[in-house]
């Protein structure tokens, strides 16, 4: 087995890694945002419930949660390891993303909400047109961090049999007896993925920055 074959075999796992990330991140964002809105605007009992969700889902190791969700999901529904693993990772992420969105919503001063109501916007409209657009900008840096974490945590689904980067590195490392090279290559690919993603998000953040005179 030559170097090229080894590398391309591992690299082909990138598709799965990216796939897992592209399912987990947005689903985590969707759930997390909805829960965050409930947390901040839903009243006392909703807030308490969300706090519980956050505490429990962030207090359990992601790997444990992943296993629980994966085995629970596959017991009931017939999903592939890829989909079950990705969605489970998304649920894990949702608790962290909820905290990010919640932090951003709270950072947009309550006064902005008041000013929006003063021109006749309803509470819902005020949140949608005034608070959320500002919150999004505030959320990007911590969200970029979360994206990096998901890319790295996607390696956990190797334990569920998904043929992503790490799994392939393991397989090819075993068959070629060149573990060091295999895992180092995997490391490089992950690094590139994280690097590119955080750079892109930083650029995106810059683009969204509201002009101001310092």
């Amino acid at each position: 087995m030559d170097l090229g074959q080894l590398l391309s075999y591992i690299a082909s796992g990138t598709v799965y890694t990216v796939g897992v990330t592209l399912i987990a991140l947005p689903s985590g964002l969707l759930i997390g945002t909805l829960l965050a809105l409930l947390y901040v605007y839903g009243g006392k009992s909703a807030a308490r419930l969300m706090n519980l969700y956050s505490t429990v889902f962030r207090g359990i190791p992601p790997l444990v949660l992943l296993f629980i969700l994966f085995f629970a999901v596959t017991k009931g529904i017939n999903l592939s390891a890829f989909w079950a693993g990705s969605l489970s990772l998304g649920i894990v992420s949702s608790a962290y993303q909820m905290e990010i969105v919640r932090g951003a919503l709270l950072s947009v001063s309550g006064d902005q909400l008041m000013a929006a109501r003063s021109i006749g916007l309803s509470r819902l409209e005020a949140i949608r047109y005034v608070v959320l657009p500002q919150a999004v900008r505030l959320a990007i840096p911590p969200w970029s961090n979360e994206a990096a974490i998901i890319i790295k945590d996607s390696s956990l689904v190797y334990a569920l049999g998904v043929p992503e980067i790490l799994r392939r590195a393991q397989l090819i490392g075993a068959s070629s007896q060149r573990y060091l090279l295999a895992y180092m290559s995997a490391a490089v690919i992950y690094f590139l993925l994280v690097f590119v993603t955080t750079r892109l998000l930083a650029l995106f953040e810059k683009k969204l920055t509201i002009p101001s005179n310092p």
Binding site: P62, L63, V64, F67, I68, L166, Y179, L180, M184
Partner: protein, 225 residues
């Protein structure tokens, strides 16, 4: 539900043993991570340019790649060049090296916050650069870092679950053992999850206590959790 509680009865001892290993992993990883992290932070804040870049590269690499991959490289890869570790040693090393990268950033952040002003104050009474760092800057910086640094022990505790994948006999491994014995994967891992949760709460409580006890009167910093 009662059936599920039976897990604790049947595997309780194993869980406790596994939890002990988990705590051990956490503490060792934390300590290695702190020592190395402190060195890295100092290197980046006060070292010569080349050292700053080396430290920066270390941090970027260890934060930019999955811990699992780092673990595999250490345990499976290094033997190829003659360096062999036992499972536990490999785990300690991987956790420590990884944690160092994150701790370095917490510490560096608060060194910056304490910063230049305190350095000037120290030098102005005749202290050397290093004396100022040790006696003036670090005591303040480390306390300032405490709230955000407190994320690290908790995070590490959760992260240790990964090392069961190289057969370290931690809590997670006991969970798997219980699962394969009963064929109830969800139940077993749920039980393990509860134990982790308890440990996280306890650790959290302990950290908040330490934070309170070591507060410098007059310096009020928000707990960023």
């Amino acid at each position: 539900m009662l059936n599920w509680l039976g897990y604790f009865e049947r595997f309780g001892q194993n869980f406790v043993r596994g939890a002990g290993v988990t705590l051990e992993l956490t503490v060792v990883g934390l300590v290695i991570g702190f020592v190395l992290g402190l060195l890295l932070a100092l290197a980046r804040s006060y070292g010569p340019k080349w050292l700053q870049q080396v430290a920066g590269a270390y941090i970027a690499v260890f934060r930019g790649t999955p811990l699992l991959v780092q673990l595999f490289i250490i345990y499976y890869g290094l033997p190829e060049i003659g360096i062999t570790f036992s499972q536990n040693m490999a785990a300690y090393l991987a956790l420590g090296l990884n944690s160092a990268a994150y701790q370095a950033e917490y510490i560096r952040g608060s060194i910056n916050a304490i910063g230049e002003a305190q350095m000037q104050a120290g030098r102005s009474i005749g202290l050397t650069k290093w004396q100022t760092i040790v006696h003036v800057i670090l005591p303040q910086a480390l306390r300032l870092a405490l709230p955000s640094w407190s994320n690290e022990p908790v995070s590490l505790l959760k992260t240790t679950a990964i090392v069961f994948l190289i057969a370290v006999q931690d809590l997670m491994a006991e969970g798997k053992r219980a699962a394969t014995a009963t064929f109830d994967f969800v139940g077993a891992y749920l039980a393990v999850a509860v134990v982790y949760l308890v440990m996280v709460f306890a650790l959290d409580f302990l950290l908040k206590f330490v934070e309170r006890k070591t507060k410098i009167p007059g310096m009020d910093f928000e707990t960023s959790r």
